[in-house]
C-alpha cells in the first residue's frame, strides 16, 4: 500500500528531492526514492543510447561554415555566398569577421566543452551579413545567424563583436540541450546562457587568453558608433550600468532578485523581460567566476554547461541555481571552493540554493568510496550505488560500441 503510493513520485518528483529522500529515516521512503532514481537513470541511459544511435546514422558536417551576403535585403534565399570553408578570404570585412567568429565559437565548444558544433554532431554553421538596410541587430532565426550593418548613428556592424556572434550561436546550443522556453525566467535564463558562453568565447579567443579578473564581462562593447557614450549592450559584472545617457536611456537590467522586473509576456514586454532579467543569472556567473578565479571557461563554465544540459524547457532561476550547486559538488567536490563560490554567488543575487546542506550531504555520500559504506541504512545506498555503477558501466560499454560503429567508414 505504502510502496504503491510512493511509486507515484516516479513521474513528478525532481531529482534533488529524491536525493533528499535518500536521507529519510524510514526505509520504505528510502527504498521508493532509490527505485525512482534507478528508473530515471535507466531511462536517461536509454535516451542517451537512442540519441547516439540516431546520430550515428547521420554524417557530420564538421561544423562547416558558409557566410552569405544579403546585400541589404531581408531575403535570405536571394543572398549570395561570400565565403565557404574551402574558399578564399573575402574582400568584405563583415563576411570575414562573421566567418572567423563562427570558427572561434566552434573551436571553443570543441576544445573547452568537447561539443561538436551546436548540435553536438557537427552541425553546419550558416551566417548572413548585410541583412536589411541599417538593421540594428543580430539574431538567431532558429537555424542560422543573421547580422545587420547598424544604422551608423547608434550602432555599427554587429559582426564586430565576437561575444555577440557567440551569443547567437549559443542560442542554438541551448535549443539542442535544455530548450529553455523564451518567456519569463526560463527565457531570461536562455538569454543569460548566451551571454555567459558569448563572454567565455571572447575570453578564450583573446591573445593572450583572459583570466576572470582580466575579462571585461561586457556584451556587445563594439557595436556602438564612436559618438555613443556606452560601454556595451549589457554588463555581466555590473548589470544596469552598461549605459546611461539621454540617447539610449538607462540600462534596465537588475543585478538582484529584489529588482526583478515583472514585464508582460508579449513582444512589447520582451517576452517577460528576457533581455532584462538575464542580468541576475549573468551576475551570478560573474561572481562565481571571480570567486573561483583562473579561467572562467574552466570550472565555472564547466559547471554552467553541465547545469544547462541537466535543465529542461521550464527551468527557472531557482532550479538552475540548485542544479549549478549540485553539479559543482559532483564535479569538484562537496563543500569545495567551487561549490562554495556557486552558493555564495547565487546568494549575493538574492537566490538561496534550495536545501544546500542536504544537497551537499548527498553529493558527499555519492562520492564516498564503496568500502566506506557500512551496514543498516547505508546498505540501501550501497546497493543503489552498485547498481548505478553497473548501469554506468553498461552505458559506457554501449556508448563505446556505438562510437566504434560511427567511426567505421560508410
Amino acid at each position: 500500500m505504502f510502496s504503491n503510493h510512493c511509486r507515484c513520485i516516479n513521474c513528478i518528483t525532481p531529482p534533488h528531492i529524491l536525493k533528499k529522500l535518500l536521507e529519510n529515516s524510514d526505509s520504505r521512503i528510502r527504498d521508493a526514492a532509490l527505485r525512482t532514481l534507478l528508473t530515471t537513470s535507466r531511462l536517461r541511459g536509454e535516451r542517451t543510447i537512442r540519441g547516439l544511435l540516431a546520430s550515428a546514422a547521420l554524417v557530420s558536417s564538421q561544423g562547416r561554415r558558409t557566410i552569405s551576403d544579403c546585400g541589404n535585403s531581408i531575403s535570405l534565399p536571394a543572398a549570395t555566398i561570400g565565403r565557404t570553408e574551402e574558399g578564399p578570404t573575402s574582400t568584405d570585412e563583415s563576411v570575414n569577421r562573421a566567418f572567423v567568429g563562427l570558427g572561434k565559437t566552434r573551436e571553443f565548444y570543441k576544445e573547452a566543452l568537447d561539443r561538436d558544433s551546436l548540435d553536438g554532431n557537427g552541425m553546419r554553421l550558416n551566417g548572413y551579413v548585410h541583412y536589411d538596410a541599417s538593421y540594428n541587430n543580430a539574431f538567431w532565426d532558429g537555424s542560422e545567424m543573421i547580422f545587420g550593418d547598424g544604422d551608423d548613428v547608434l550602432f555599427t556592424d554587429f559582426t564586430k563583436s565576437l561575444d555577440v556572434i557567440a551569443h547567437e550561436l549559443t542560442h542554438g546550443v541551448t535549443e539542442f540541450t535544455a530548450g529553455l522556453r523564451y518567456h519569463k525566467q526560463s527565457g531570461a535564463l536562455n538569454e543569460s546562457i548566451s551571454d555567459v558562453f558569448g563572454s567565455l568565447v571572447k575570453q578564450w579567443a583573446a591573445t593572450p587568453k583572459q583570466t576572470t579578473d582580466q575579462a571585461d564581462w561586457l556584451i556587445g562593447a563594439e557595436v556602438f558608433t564612436p559618438d555613443i557614450n556606452a560601454d556595451a549592450l549589457r554588463s555581466m559584472k555590473n548589470p544596469g550600468k552598461a549605459y546611461n545617457n539621454p540617447t539610449l536611456g538607462r540600462d534596465p537590467q537588475p543585478d538582484h532578485m529584489s529588482k526583478y522586473v515583472d514585464m508582460p509576456d508579449t513582444d512589447a514586454g520582451d517576452h517577460g523581460g528576457v533581455h532584462i532579467n538575464s542580468g541576475i543569472p549573468n551576475k551570478a556567473f560573474y561572481l562565481t567566476s571571480i570567486g573561483i578565479g583562473g579561467y572562467a571557461w574552466q570550472a565555472p563554465g564547466q559547471i554552467w554547461y553541465a547545469a544547462l544540459q541537466a535543465s529542461t524547457s521550464t527551468t527557472d532561476f531557482q532550479e538552475f541555481a540548485d542544479t549549478t550547486y549540485l553539479k559543482a559538488g559532483q564535479m569538484y567536490g562537496s563543500q569545495g571552493a567551487e561549490q562554495q563560490a556557486v552558493l555564495s554567488a547565487w546568494k549575493e543575487v538574492g537566490i538561496r540554493v534550495s536545501g544546500a546542506l542536504a544537497l551537499a550531504g548527498t553529493t558527499a555520500r555519492m562520492r564516498r568510496p564503496m568500502a566506506d559504506i557500512s551496514n543498516g541504512r547505508d546498505e540501501d545506498q550501497a546497493d543503489v550505488a552498485r547498481k548505478i555503477e553497473q548501469l554506468t558501466g553498461q552505458l559506457a560499454t554501449l556508448s563505446k560500441q556505438v562510437a566504434n560503429l560511427r567511426s567505421k567508414p560508410h
Binding site: 549592450l233 533581455h275 532584462i276
Partner: protein, 100 residues
C-alpha cells in the same frame, strides 16, 4: 492619418524599451509622400504574415505599426522572421522617415 511605429526586442531590447515610438502624421507630409504612405499602409493592412512563427527565433525584432485614421485604429504586428513583403516595405519607409 497617423502612423505609429514601435520596435521591440533584439540584442538592444533594453534600449528599445526606452525609446519612444516614431509618430508620422500624414497631414504634415507633402501630397505625393502622403499618397505613398496611404498606399503602403493599405497594402500592408491586407497582407498576412509571410510565415507562421516557428517559435525558435531568438533576439529577432518585432514591430507594431498602429494606424489611426478617421477615428479608427488598426494595429499590425509582425517580426523579422514572419513579416510579409508589404509589411516590410511599409516598415522600411517608416524607418527611413527622418522626423520623430
Amino acid at each position: 492619418m497617423k502612423v505609429i511605429l514601435a520596435q521591440h526586442g533584439g540584442q538592444a531590447a533594453g534600449i528599445n524599451l526606452n525609446r519612444p515610438p516614431k509618430v508620422i502624421d500624414s497631414a504634415a507630409l507633402d501630397e505625393p509622400k502622403a499618397a505613398e504612405l496611404k498606399r503602403l499602409v493599405a497594402a500592408a493592412n491586407s497582407a498576412p504574415s509571410s510565415a507562421a512563427s516557428s517559435g525558435k527565433a531568438r533576439d529577432e525584432m518585432s514591430y507594431t505599426i498602429t494606424i489611426q485614421d478617421q477615428g479608427r485604429e488598426t494595429v499590425l504586428s509582425q517580426s523579422d522572421t514572419t513579416m510579409s513583403a508589404d509589411f516590410a516595405k511599409l516598415l522600411a519607409w517608416l524607418q527611413r522617415y527622418p522626423k520623430n
